[in-house]
């Protein structure tokens, strides 16, 4: 890939795929009738640096080849050279619209590997932050989808709501965006009564504000026409493509990791798994809207049920001690030194743990050789897998539908490129 010759060969290979293999629709004209358009990486509608090579005839898309990798940072390799704790900040940058959820997922995976049992309060805090992240991420998803089809106002309204959540995150974690909030064995700081007050205040108005937002779109004839029947995928195809999350549930399959493989304390929480059967862009939008309501329901229950107690497990070999103890106690100082420099001590083995992220099933597959670093860490990022279905969804639709479809799939390139 370094010499210009190889590059041009690579390019022509892409072109060849476009013009021959990817075009199942037969162009009856013997002469070349299509045009190859580059959409992305620097394009307003590709949600980051997704690149789409699309072959279009007039307004109709004949073929589409998504190209990833413009935001590749090699996180899986970085993980092999960092301790488990060091990798937590990197998880913020996966799905940067829901960093708290990623933090939780990674911490849970490592805890499963190391066999750490976390206190109940930490579990509830993690559930709260995961659901907050879900609402925040879905708000962006419906906002940007509406923006892609041309309704800019919804985006600003959804960001207004999201801002309230960001304030809570700011208060809780000290950062709005790159939170790095979880620790192996618990969370970094305690949930305060002020957080509860703010969250309650948010939840009080959330349903009504969401209704207001939906009123702009749900009964809007143009929005419905633009999304209904666009990018339809059947349940079988969705499973074959490995879709997860709202995109899968929009096809009628009630697969939700929270329900199927309950983690944290989700089995004690009452919530519905939202499904729609249409499998089009509109259904994906509705799933997200309804899921936000369910998340709000979960948040209310969590606030009610949250017990008092510790927020970090007591496991000196694996869990970082409290800062105060490090400064005052010899044993804690030694543990802290060992944990920071050499990492925790998981057993040799491998573990896969997945959670329901806003975008879908986020899984961490960790192979441990007993040292403080993972021997191999594989991230099953939902955006990456969901993007697989893009050529299938787009083919045969029009240029304007591309943006509606990308918006409804809701990829985050930080996650897709890892």
């Amino acid at each position: 890939m370094n010499t210009p010759n190889e590059q041009s060969q690579y390019k022509s290979k892409i072109l060849e795929t476009l013009l021959t293999k990817a075009t199942d629709v037969v162009i009856e004209d013997t002469l070349e009738n299509g045009m190859v358009l580059n959409m992305g990486p620097q394009h307003p509608a590709t949600h980051g640096v997704l690149r789409l090579l699309i072959n279009i005839d007039g307004e109709t898309v004949i073929g589409c080849v998504p190209e990833l990798g413009y935001l590749h940072r090699g996180y899986e390799k970085i993980a092999e050279n960092s301790t488990y704790h060091e990798f937590i900040p990197h998880t913020d940058r996966l799905d940067y619209l829901a960093p708290l959820s990623n933090n939780t997922a990674f911490a849970l995976a490592v805890e499963k590997l190391a066999g750490v049992e976390i206190p109940k309060r930490a579990k509830y805090i993690r559930m709260i932050i995961s659901e907050m992240a879900r609402i925040a991420s879905h708000l962006v998803a419906i906002g940007t989808m509406a923006m892609d089809v041309g309704a800019l106002t919804v985006l600003l309204w959804s960001f207004r709501e999201r801002e309230k959540l960001q304030d809570i995150m700011d208060l809780l974690t000290g950062a709005r965006f790159t939170t790095s909030y979880t620790r192996i064995g618990g969370v970094a700081s305690d949930w305060t009564p002020q957080c509860t007050a703010m969250l309650k205040d948010f939840l009080e108005h959330f349903d009504e504000n969401l209704d207001e937002m939906e009123r702009l779109l749900n009964t809007n004839r143009i929005f419905l026409e633009r999304t209904e029947g666009i990018g339809v995928i059947s349940a079988e195809q969705a499973i074959a493509m490995g879709l997860t999350g709202p995109n899968l549930r929009a096809t009628g399959i009630d697969y939700d990791v929270r329900r199927v493989f309950p983690y944290l304390d989700y089995e004690n929480i009452d919530f519905n798994v939202i499904t729609y059967t249409e499998g089009d862009s509109l259904a994906r939008y509705w799933v997200r809207c309804d899921e936000m309501r369910e998340s709000a329901k979960i948040l209310r229950q969590c606030l009610e049920k949250m017990p008092d107690g510790d927020i970090l497990a007591h496991d000196p070999k694996n869990v970082l001690p409290k800062k105060f103890d490090v400064y005052t106690k010899m044993e804690e100082l030694i543990h802290d030194f060992m944990l920071v420099n050499f990492g925790l001590n998981p057993p040799v083995g491998e573990v896969y743990f997945s959670v329901e992220n806003p975008k879908g099933e986020l899984g961490f597959y960790i192979v441990s050789d007993g040292t403080g670093h993972p021997w191999r860490l594989k991230i099953r990022s939902p955006s990456f897998v969901n993007l697989q279905s893009l050529p299938l969804l787009i083919k045969g639709h029009m240029v304007s539908d591309i943006v509606a479809i990308i918006g409804s799939i809701d990829p985050v390139m930080g996650e897709a490129d890892k």
Partner: protein, 357 residues
């Protein structure tokens, strides 16, 4: 009439006409375009729970002036692969097309750039002149987004021209004139005499006319939205699909010209609606000048009412832009050819039957 007065004042017809033609540009279009951009930003901010521009000058009033000053200082880039003559000419064509329309707008009973008998027809003709400019801009850039924007734009403007013209023709059947000043004069006295309310017609015919006239106005308004590329018909510039549509490759002042022309066009189509359906420069309820006995106040009031009504319709266009998503190109064509055009024809027949009474 001011043009004649100016001609007499200078003793030379040519100079009089020159000044009369230049007046709208410097007195109205430029300030209007600057403040329409500002208003759009404030309107959108208001609708989106934001503050909007508030840094340059009090309440951000000088924001657009600052923007224009900034754009003047920008580098003027002509892409290497562009068709240079076309690329450079396009902004002129669009700007001139927009401005030429202003010269035939009746701002008041005594002020109209040129009181031609074909006023409506002339304005429709020159404002669709911008199609040529758009096609030139889109083709010249050698950019696929531009080309798509231009093609969509032309298909759209050209299609919506048909229902717009039909809506006007059905109104003209009752009005019986294409002279904008005459049309405005007819709708005198009070708002009940506006053509959208049946005009200065007496008897049952007036009541019969209200519905077809309203339909004609709605058709014309929708079509005019499409002609000025406003949401929900902004697919030529659809920023989430085509980046910036036909002006993707333009920078600096050339881009600003497209921008000014767009806002100018918004007022032109609103002004046609106002002149034909909403009484033109007529006040909806008598003149202050009449009741006070100050005769020179009347034309001033007329200018106010004309600009007020026109700006109100521009405001409606902005309101729509920040509320509605945009259509897809095939839906756009369906709306035009399968709904608006047949409805406009039916409306035409309806008005034709009513005129027999």
């Amino acid at each position: 009439m001011i043009p004649d007065y100016l001609a007499e004042f200078f003793g030379n017809k040519f100079i009089g006409y020159l000044i009369a033609a230049a007046l709208p540009l410097f007195l109205w279009i430029l300030p209007y375009a600057l403040y329409a951009v500002y208003a759009e930003r404030k309107v959108s901010a208001f609708m989106q729970d934001r503050i909007g521009p508030n840094r340059v000058g009090p309440k951000g009033l000088f924001q657009t002036i600052a923007d224009i000053l900034k754009l003047i200082q920008k580098e003027d880039i002509v892409p290497a692969s562009a068709d240079k003559p076309l690329f450079v000419m396009a902004p002129y064509v669009i700007f001139a097309g927009t401005f030429a329309a202003f010269a035939a707008l009746p701002f008041s009973s005594i002020y109209i750039g040129s009181n031609i008998n074909l006023g409506v027809f002339y304005i429709m003709a020159v404002s669709s002149f911008s199609v040529v400019g758009i096609l030139m801009a889109g083709w010249a850039g050698n950019n696929k987004y531009s080309l798509y924007g231009a093609m969509r734009s032309v298909a759209q403007i050209v299609s919506y021209e048909v229902p717009a013209l039909l809506a006007i023709v059905s109104a003209v059947m009752v009005i019986g004139s294409l002279n904008l000043n005459e049309i405005s004069e007819m709708q005198t006295a009070y708002f009940w005499n506006w053509w959208i309310f049946g005009g200065p017609v007496v008897g049952i015919k007036k009541f019969l006319l209200i519905i077809p006239m309203t339909i004609a106005f709605i058709i014309f308004f929708i079509a005019s939205l499409a002609e000025v590329n406003r949401t929900p018909f902004d697919i030529p510039e659809a920023e989430s699909e085509l980046v910036a549509g036909f002006h993707t490759e333009y920078t600096g002042m050339k881009f600003a010209m497209f921008f000014l022309a767009e806002y100018g066009n918004m007022f032109v189509v609103s002004a046609i609606s106002v002149s034909i359906f909403f009484g033109g420069w007529q006040s909806p309820f008598g003149y202050l000048g009449n009741s006070l006995g100050i005769s020179w106040l009347i034309p001033v009031e007329q200018v106010f009412w004309f600009l007020f009504k026109g700006s109100l319709l521009v405001l409606v266009q902005m309101w729509l832009r920040w509320t509605l998503p945009r259509l897809r190109v095939d839906q756009l064509m369906t709306v035009c050819w399968k709904y608006l055009t047949p409805y406009a024809f039916i409306n035409l027949v309806l008005i034709g039957i009513i005129t027999l009474f």
